[in-house]
């Protein structure tokens, strides 16, 4: 497992893409095929069921390390990861077992029918025979929740480079339908189990943000304007009777949208469509948070499919009957797209609506009301524009609505997990209410590493109370919080719920007396 441990360690340590690729490359040279296959299996979520529960592992670890539970919990809260905490507190190994990854996996899978006593013996033996990093990996393998420090794109690129093949073909192969024990690594990578040409996506055309108004864009009638939606941007491919859905993250997400796949299977023709996957109920687009409920799930229950129905709003047509249409004008592509939709009417796929307007001023008013239908703003596309590869300035613009902002004070802080476990990164903010403070939002991101360190130091010095991992801090630091929407809510003490709250900036120029009052904030609700 040493080779695998080296890989994980290297991927964890550096954030340089090149060094990550080098590490994967080294692993691909050094590891044998069964280990490489297991690596892909773990990476793509094909992990065996957990056979040893974490409560037992904790218990055994405390026994082996001879430490009391409170000390274990202190250690855990400092490390932020159970498997790692266990691997760190255990006594040094007394001998060394050399087994490769697949041998360990076989043994772990076989634990399924073992008694608790047998499991314990196995785990304790492994713990006393593996050095720290390998012990940590062993715990992760037992636990079944293994995050590897590389993006799927990074891994796919490394594989493609090592085997000198096309990246999207590799992606299709490893994301496709395969099972451990039924494939060999080499054949999997070389696409033996899939026709990778069939699934090949195009690069998405991306828009720049329109910083000022649209007046500089010239004649208003040369632009096709649509609503901008906050869902999952996707490419829907149908070729030779097969359907593939790619996300903008270059991930194959077909399995996550079975209803779309089913519908497209019924459609006539071969095509590639660019569109947005959205939750749509009672003729209304719902928040991204609704969509999140069903993303990246291993299985989608019937209930989930009914409660969170997804539709596609189609933006563009990239390929028709095997022919690349991207160089044609948007106008021409749209006509073809409309024809395609006319021939295949179905409720779960709709055309993205084209907004009609007479002047830029009228468009401004439309943009300002976009929030009321859960849209993020407008997309402006030149009618003569081709479908560009990647982001190109000039032809496509996104004109988002301005976020709402308030000033609030930091009152609770909590340490992050993983990379951020050493710092207070999770914050709760409050605003004024009848001369006191009331919590309004939790936010995680938006500060630089330097600022996080500074806030952490403040928290250390100004913690008033300790509730488990949460620190109550002196209300002193003021932050500007932006959010996309606001509504009344009975579930929140403040009486309002914010959508996508995030920290815009640390207002070091403001004091706590200057934060907003809840009554003023309620006036933002329309």
């Amino acid at each position: 497992m040493k080779t695998f441990a080296n890989l994980i360690n290297a991927l964890d340590s550096t954030n340089k893409t090149n060094l990550k690729l080098e590490a994967i490359d080294r692993f691909l040279w050094e590891a044998d095929d069964s280990d490489k296959l297991w690596f892909l299996a773990l990476f793509t979520g094909r992990r065996p069921k957990r056979n040893v529960n974490t409560a037992l592992m904790r218990q055994w670890a405390m026994e082996a390390a001879q430490i009391p539970e409170w000390l274990f919990l202190e250690s855990y809260s400092s490390v932020g990861d159970l498997g790692e905490t266990i691997s760190l507190i255990l006594p040094r190994p007394v001998n060394y077992i050399e087994r490769n990854l697949s041998e360990w996996m076989d043994l772990i899978i076989r634990l399924k029918d073992a008694s608790e006593e047998e499991k314990k013996t196995f785990v304790l033996e492994a713990w006393s025979s593996l050095p720290h990093t390998e012990r940590f990996i062993f715990n992760k393998l037992l636990g079944g929740s293994f995050r590897v420090g590389v993006s799927s794109k990074g891994l796919i690129n490394a594989l493609a480079r090592h085997y000198n093949t096309d990246a999207s073909a590799v992606a299709h192969s490893i994301m496709g339908d395969w099972k451990m024990g039924e494939v060999t690594f080499d054949e999997l990578i070389r696409g033996k189990y899939t026709d990778t040409q069939l699934s090949k996506p195009y690069l998405f055309c991306l828009a720049y943000a329109l910083e000022k108004g649209p007046e500089d864009l010239g004649d208003a009638s040369s632009w096709q304007v649509e609503y901008k939606w906050d869902g999952v941007r996707g490419q829907l491919i149908k070729r030779d009777g097969e359907v593939f859905i790619w996300s903008r993250g270059e991930e194959l997400v077909t399995e996550q949208f079975p209803e779309i796949r089913e519908t497209l299977l019924q459609w006539n023709g071969n095509f590639v469509i660019d569109g947005e996957l959205l939750v749509y109920k009672d003729n209304q687009v719902l928040n991204f948070s609704e969509l999140q409920k069903r993303l990246n799930r291993k299985t989608l229950s019937r209930k989930m499919l009914e409660e969170v129905p997804v539709v596609v709003f189609a933006y563009d047509l990239l390929e028709w009957e095997g022919e690349d249409w991207r160089e044609r004008s948007l106008k021409a592509r749209r006509v073809k797209l409309e024809t395609l939709f006319l021939q295949n009417p179905s409720p779960s796929l709709q055309l993205s609506q084209i907004i009609t307007y007479e002047s830029w001023d009228e468009l401004k008013a439309i943009r300002e009301s976009a929030r009321s239908i859960n849209s993020e703003g407008l997309m402006l596309k030149h009618k003569e524009s081709p479908y560009h590869t990647g982001r190109k300035k000039g032809d496509w613009w996104k004109w988002k609505i301005d976020p709402l902002t308030i000033d609030a004070v930091l009152i609770y802080a909590q340490k992050g997990s993983g990379r951020r476990s050493a710092y207070y990164t999770d914050y709760t903010f409050a605003v004024k209410k009848d001369g006191e403070l009331v919590t309004i939002a939790k936010a995680y991101s938006g500060l630089t590493d330097k600022e996080i360190q500074e806030v952490s130091r403040f928290v250390n010095k100004n913690a008033i109370e300790k509730f488990g991992p949460v620190r109550t801090v002196k209300p002193e630091l003021v932050f500007e919080i932006a959010f996309e929407g606001i509504s009344f809510s009975n579930r929140h003490k403040s009486g309002v719920a914010l959508r996508f709250p995030r920290i815009v900036r640390w207002r070091k120029d403001k004091v706590v007396a200057e934060i907003d009052d809840i009554e003023d904030i309620k006036k933002l609700i329309h």
Binding site: D12, S13, T14, N15, K16, L19, E22, A65, I67, P68, W70, L71, E74, S75, S78, V79, G80, D81, E84, T85, L88, I89, R92, F136, G149, S417, G418, R419, R420, S421, A422, Y423, Y424, D449, Q453, S456, R457, V459, N460
Partner: protein
């Protein structure tokens, strides 16, 4: 015998302070790190090897007396002697004897022999004042041999990939330790701040591995595939990027935890520390035979609670040591 005051640890009958943080008449200094050896004292007393460090950091005109390990100085009836603390070169535990009672102020210490500092020697005492920087059972260092081997392997691997190895470590202590570990593996280049302290040590007759001072304002292509050692303040600077084709590593006890390694996002992190690890602290305390333990900077609350559960009488003490080392901020710490 001791009072923990707002100026520092005060020896009442001896009328002197140990590692004070406000100006006093006489300061006994455990070692040269900035949180233990501050400016403004009328007179300093420390180990011989620490004298040039204090002069280099604080000023050449300070009044300082150097003594050797196990040498005794009398102060108003209190017998003061210094004993190796193994933390950095010249670091000492301060043993105080008054009317048959012995108290030891250990400053910062480690049990492992780094091959440079005089190795830690347990001193029997009634009261022991201990640090607790790494006072959690998750901190367990590998044996020095293995640590050094890791560093060497990493450098060799970098050389194989045509890369220069850049180490980030505290100028006083860690830098010299890295030099020692990598002696003979490749040419050593150190930052001027480290060079200055190296000179201070060499002036007392301590032999360090050969090195060259690197000037990052100039073209530094000559360091190609060599080893460069820089102080932590340069980690996030633009200067470090002037070194072409490099991989960087942080050497610090905090690097034991994956989250800390990922947070710093250096290319490698090595858990190498000049502080005692969990078992190091426990063993050291046990070896003193002390009835009473005072716990200073670090994991004070947790460590004190644990000591009390094991049957010792332990108490937390608030000091201004290791102010940069507290739990919330392992990265800008003195002990990097």
């Amino acid at each position: 015998m001791l009072h923990f005051t707002t100026k520092g640890i005060y020896c009442v009958p001896g009328r002197f302070y140990i590692d004070p943080w406000r100006p006093v008449d006489l300061a006994v200094i455990t070692h040269g790190h900035a949180d233990h050896a501050r400016r403004g004292m009328k007179k300093y007393l420390c180990h011989h090897a620490t004298v040039p460090i204090l002069k280099s950091r604080i000023g050449s005109d300070i009044s300082v007396q150097g003594i050797g390990y196990n040498e005794t100085v009398n102060m108003h009836g209190v017998k003061i002697s210094l004993h190796p603390a193994g933390h950095i070169i010249g670091s000492a535990q301060v043993r105080l004897e008054y009317k048959g009672k012995v108290t030891v102020v250990s400053g910062d210490y480690k049990i492992q022999d780094d091959g440079l500092s005089a190795p830690f020697e347990p001193v029997l005492c009634n009261e022991f004042i201990t640090e607790s920087t790494f006072g959690l059972p998750i901190y367990n260092w590998l044996p020095v041999q293995q640590q050094n081997e890791q560093l060497r392997q990493w450098v060799l691997n970098n050389q194989g990939n045509g890369k220069t190895s850049v180490f980030i470590g505290y100028s006083l202590g860690k830098a010299q330790r890295i030099m020692k570990a990598l002696e003979g593996v490749a040419p050593l280049y150190v930052h001027a701040a480290i060079g200055k302290l190296n000179q201070a040590y060499e002036s007392t007759g301590i032999r360090l591995p050969g090195y060259q001072v690197i000037d990052l304002r100039e073209d530094v292509r000559y360091v190609d595939k060599g080893i460069v050692i820089l102080p932590p303040s340069l980690l996030d600077s633009n200067v470090i990027r002037k070194i072409p084709n490099m991989a960087n590593a942080i050497c610090s006890g905090w690097m034991q935890v994956r989250g800390a390694r990922r947070w710093r996002s250096a290319d490698a992190g090595f858990a190498i520390s000049d502080h005692a690890d969990w078992y190091g602290l426990l063993d050291a305390i046990k070896a003193t035979g002390a009835e009473k333990v005072y716990v200073t900077h670090g994991q004070t609350a947790v460590f004190t609670k644990y000591l009390n559960e094991t049957g010792l009488s332990a108490e937390e003490v608030k000091t201004e040591f290791g102010s940069e080392e507290e739990e919330g901020d392992p990265v800008t710490s003195e002990s990097l």
